[in-house]
């Protein structure tokens, strides 16, 4: 297999290298890629959509249809991980409880709880004591991450970023919480059902906004149809439409990232995490 692999990649690589000679130079201003289609986006984004970040306008409007499916890809991954990994019933083998006052760890077989559970806390089997600094720092950070994420989502029109990046950051904040503390605490605050429904809802906001345009009488995803609804002209309606779908994307991406993490980090049991 190794030899086969080496032969394959040598042949492929040489072929690919050979065909690069026909490419326009790196950074060539006059390459077809830079002259055929893209000037339209650069020159018309303001007058078409009133969004200065061209990437955002192309992403969510000109090629908004792609982006809808991009979000759906993420959702698909979330559903796929759930379908593949999730084990609905809990494996009742054994659990560890820590007696807080004394710091003694006990192992409990089966589904029982130790008496006086207010002094016992459930811990992971790979629990390490003295994670106070990590815990504290992470919890401090999480708020800032989330704030920044919201900024990124909302400010995607004018600066780098948008729904995806913001959504991933939001998701990362929850994942950070789960890593620094334990998975069960994260799930208690942001449950699996919430994640699942939020992810569908996020994509639904996107596709629903598109379908709304369709029902109003324009093409699918043609946000300018929303103008009368939002009380703006057709161009600003596109800008607002982009914001709506960015929010949907952020929601979906956040929820899916968390959902996948829950399933991957606990091998589908959603009991003990990393």
């Amino acid at each position: 297999m190794k030899i086969l692999g080496k032969i394959t990649i040598t042949i492929c690589g040489l072929l690919l290298l050979f065909f690069t000679s026909d490419f326009p130079d790196w950074g060539d201003v006059n390459s077809p890629a830079s002259t055929h289609l893209s000037p339209y986006f650069i020159e018309h984004t303001i007058e078409d959509t009133a969004v200065p970040n061209i990437v955002t306008s192309v992403l969510a409007d000109y090629r908004g249809y792609d982006t809808m499916f991009e979000t759906t890809v993420i959702l698909t991954a979330g559903l796929a991980c759930f379908l593949l990994l999730r084990i609905p019933r809990k494996d009742s083998i054994h659990r560890y409880y820590r007696h807080e006052p004394t710091g003694v760890t006990i192992r409990v077989e089966g589904d029982r709880y130790p008496k006086g559970s207010n002094v016992f806390t459930r811990i992971d089997s790979s629990w390490v004591p003295y994670d106070l600094i990590i815990n504290f720092t992470c919890r401090l950070l999480i708020h800032f991450i989330q704030l920044f994420a919201l900024y990124v989502v909302a400010h995607g029109h004018h600066s780098p970023g948008g729904g995806f990046q913001g959504g991933v950051l939001l998701g990362a904040s929850v994942i950070l919480f789960a890593i620094s503390g334990n998975l069960r605490a994260a799930i208690k605050r942001f449950g699996e059902k919430t994640a699942a429904i939020l992810s569908s809802t996020g994509v639904f906001i996107y596709a629903g906004a598109g379908a709304l345009c369709l029902f109003i009488g324009e093409q699918f995803l043609n946000y300018s149809a929303l103008g009368p609804l939002l009380g703006t002209d057709r161009i600003m309606a596109r800008s607002h439409g982009i914001l709506i779908v960015e929010i949907g994307v952020a929601m979906a991406v956040m929820a899916v990232m968390i959902w996948i993490y829950y399933n991957l980090s606990s091998a589908g049991k959603q009991d003990e995490g990393l």
Binding site: H36, Y65, M68, L79, F204, F220
Partner: protein
Amino acid sequence: MTSNLPALVIIVPLLASLVAAGAGWFNRKAPFYIAVIALLISFISSVLLLAQVVATGVAIEYQMAGWPAPVGIVYVIDHLSAMVLVVITFVAFVNLIGNRQAVETEFKNKEGAFNALYVLFTAGLVGMTATGDAFNLYVLLEIASLSGYALIGLGSSRAPLATLNYLFLGTIGATFYLLGVGYLYIATGSLNMADLATIIPSMMNSSTILFAFIICLTGLLVKMAIFPVHGWLPGAYSESSTVSAGLIAPLTTKVTIYIMVRICLTLFTPEYTFGYIDPTDIMVAIAVASIIFGSLSALAQKDFKRMLSYIIIAEVGYMVGGFFLGNRMGVSGAILHIVNDAAMTLALFMAAGIFIWKTGDEKQSSLKGLYAKMPFTMAGFTLAALSVVGVPPTCGFFSKWYLISGGIAAGQYLFVGALIFSSLINAVLFFRIFEIALFEPFKSHHHAGDEEDKVESHHGETIVDPGVIESAQQYSGSDSHDHGAIVIKEPPLPMLVPFLGVCVLLLILGLYSGSIVNNIIHFAIPAGII
């Protein structure tokens, strides 16, 4: 609303999958019905689209987000894509309603996710078929692939490994395609298929375009599991659950072949594909290898679904070879075979689903004595099998007819020989199964009632002769008192009726293949191909 039909075909399944995914958390039955209704709407829309295209003879263009072609993404529904849309939505719809019980048992507590992925897979294929944008195709390809991985991965205990292999090769294929689109983009600056088709003839000699063609084609060939890169297919299809296999096996390879046709004819123009590059000899050689390898490997299989998987590899060779013959007969045959093979594979995998559902075993030997036990199912299965063999008037014969005609016209006698050879092998394969099902005495799969069954199948009618079916049902009826034995009789009607419907469709497709070719496929092939 009719002007929005091209969007509805895909939007309805997409929205439905979202709703189904959410609804699964509240109600276990709802996702199934949501999925069924969505697929039905999608099916009706695509039939209407096909009718519209055939009636007007003009391709329908739908501008997503209201942007015209090179700037935005457009959907183009022409004769070819409308026909494939009908096939996709039909297969998805029928397979789902025919497998309700199987879904409920195999995907317990995950109905929401399963139905959502099922519909998403369909939506992905529908989008791939309808889109007129080379990059959008990639995104939808990934949707279909990812949901496909999930659907296949939840099969038998060996399924995850097979799926992982599928995922690796699928990713290689899709990424190669993406790279090809990148090469096209760097050479032309465009992503729209129609736009590219206007640019490419002016730069025939560009080596970048040539490499884009090669690499797109390579990616698609990996995705469609032609002979040297077929490794993922048998494992993935035979280890998956029956409902997933019934959806994915008929559609994935066929839609990928459609994409190949689309790319070669619409994106790279026929002048470029057949005039400038002219890959006929090498592609037909690969196709021949695929046909012969697929047929011979199928011969060696004991597992029923695995055998069908290898037949699919051979069928892929049919279509690829037929298409690259490059004449009107061959291309017509390849396109017609997309439709026919989808229907045949659907019928066979539905039959496999019924067998497994009833006998709980995937071995061919578990089919013993089934002719007497479930005559209607076996009649349908026989019809489907004969169609694969290529017996008239089933549809399989007619696509083979065009393929062979094309092969003779192009002088590719090796290809003709391979087709005949594969038909003969298929005959051997299926008659072997017929023999098992007809001759071998029925073996009870769950110990009880073994003796009684043997007696019945040999001499049961010597005493009274109320006709085979009645007697079989009476006997199986009396068997059911035995403790816990699974009694083999006809499957429940919701399973049987769709299956038989598909089998009858095989005949109808065959009888009306003349009108399909004259009214649809004839217009789907550019005039440049003679």
